[in-house]
Amino acid sequence: MSQAQTSAGHADKADIFCKDEARVDWHSKALWLLRQKRDRAAAAVPEWEELRTLGSEIKLHTLTHLPQYLEQFEANCQKNGIIVHWAKDGDEHNRIVHEILSQHQVKKLVKSKSMLTEECHLNPYLESKGIEVIDTDLGERIIQLNKQPPSHIVVPAIHLKKEEVGQLFHEKIGTEAGASDPTYLTRAARAHLREQFLTADAGMTGVNMGIAEEGAIVVCTNEGNADMGCNLPKLTLHSMGIDKLIPNKAAASVLLRTLARNAIGQLITTYSSFYHGPKPGGEMHIIIVDNGRSEMLQDKLLAESLKCIRCGGCMNTCPVYRRSGGYSYNYFIPGPIGIAVGSKHDDTNTIPWACTLCGSCTYVCPTKVPLHNIIAYQRRLKAEAGKLPYGKAGYMPMVGKVMSSPTLLNCAMSVARFSLRYLPGSLLKPFAGAWGKYRELPKAPASSFEAWYKKNRSK
């Protein structure tokens, strides 16, 4: 998706989403509900802030000792009978996956939610090789049937209403026409997907944590789809970004306490599964993926975005995400963390501006990723690369010149005060651009701040 839909910037795509005002309200409220649940769950844990600090420190420690932990992880995995692969980038990851699948003549793969395989565009790649890929998380399956990418990393079909899911299921899996009851639809999906689990040749998951000291991976789901997918077929594959590594079980205990609470206010996910060896007679592969992460680690601030444990809490709280929808970001991960890790890939150069810098994302992050600082920094990186979005590139340098010269600024401000006082709004509004679209023009103050300060505060 990040490759195909790059013609329109964030604001243009948000405009499309905002056309349906009732849906925007509904979307915003649905996500705010998750934020409220998160707040209640966090408040119920007295040591919550301590857990956030520990989460951040554990991740910083691992990120600054990655080579040693990756080698330890690999050695322990191999000791447990797991086959480990290394992939520099998405292409190599996909090739490795395809090689393993074709060696086993896999025709059907059941996959549990994995943002890394989205990042690598694995599904279309495998489909082009004639392998059927079934996403098995209910939300993922819905959007897969709807031929859409996820619009949220935890609740991928949050943008769809139950009537729309009902219609889709009616067309694709034969539910009754007009039926939209979530329990009925979920049960229908259960039956439909159970057939897929039982007939799949291989299962694949992402990884929530890789534990170096144990040679184990942790996979968290509420539905049990990862476990149905992995524990039926003989062959299982797991894709893991290098940022998912942690040193030991003690570290896992910290992150398992915050992940689900911060995501949706749940005490823990229904299933927190530790895979640390193939099943008897089975085969287990882990693919360790870099794909740009080591490059991010070369930048002090961008490196901190790799502390993220993908709980989605920053999206649920973000006032911009809630009102612009996941598809307005030109990256497969939307919201604050999507801007932090995806700005480089956004060729409209607009997503760093899909943010009010309110800092709410940073405030809720369970591993203290300084999201709003990274987003402000992404703006700087775009400016330094000469890649300001259309419009900004023209006027921002002028704004800079005016603001850095007291004479020019005073002059401009007195013209503005005069105009606001004496000229009609209809004449001035167009000068306010997009800002003025949903706002009234301000009342002009009696004097400049400088004059006021001189009179009242100087000496």
Partner: protein, 189 residues
């Protein structure tokens, strides 16, 4: 150079200053562990049976078997009517699975179940209904205590199970019973 060597070389330099591993010292909440556990399990959608739990389980399973339900039991004192197969697909029609949990976690209601205890990895997921047996003395306060107690050495798979499987992917409406078990009863002995 292999991809592994390239990746490790690229990771030799990191802009962040080296950071020590923090000490994780969180005091567990030890008051009324069973009460905490029961409340957490309820919040996860599970049910705790604590009065004469083993007898309750045995008579429940006996009547299920009499009804012709397909029951697999991994608990010695409980007699099911199906064996653990070597092919996990053979369990596709299982109505009930009875399995022992190794420990329970008061703060979140979860129970640690291993491949050994389940007999076959798929058992706690593919059954329509899951019955877990837990010893009262095996309830710990929090995840820090739980993970310190479990060992990943002798079995290739283990899972913390907190309640029946669930989803809220359609308009955030909570639906119990996604792909895994639709009910979870915990028998505390």
């Amino acid at each position: 150079m292999s991809s592994k060597a390239e990746m490790l070389a690229a990771l030799k330099s990191v802009a962040l200053p080296e950071h020590p591993m923090p000490a994780i010292e969180i005091a567990p909440r030890l008051d009324d562990l069973i009460g905490q556990y029961e409340a957490s399990l309820k919040a996860c959608g599970g049910t705790l049976i604590k009065d004469n739990a083993m007898e309750a389980l045995q008579s429940q399973v006996a009547s299920l078997v009499a009804e012709g339900k397909q029951v697999i039991s991994r608990v010695d004192a409980v007699a099911g009517n199906r064996e653990v197969p070597s092919d996990p697909h053979a369990l596709k029609d299982i109505n009930y699975a009875v399995i022992s949990g190794q420990l329970g976690v008061a703060e979140n209601g979860s129970i640690w179940v291993t491949e050994d205890l389940a007999g076959i990895r798929i058992a706690p997921f593919i059954c329509e209904n899951l019955m877990l047996v837990l010893k009262a003395e095996d309830v710990v306060a929090n995840m820090h205590q739980a993970l310190a107690k479990i060992s990943l050495d002798n079995t290739g798979f283990g899972v913390f199970i907190a309640g029946p499987s669930k989803t809220a992917d359609i308009e955030q409406a909570l639906v119990i019973g996604a792909h895994g078990a639709c009910t979870l009863n915990v028998y505390l002995i």
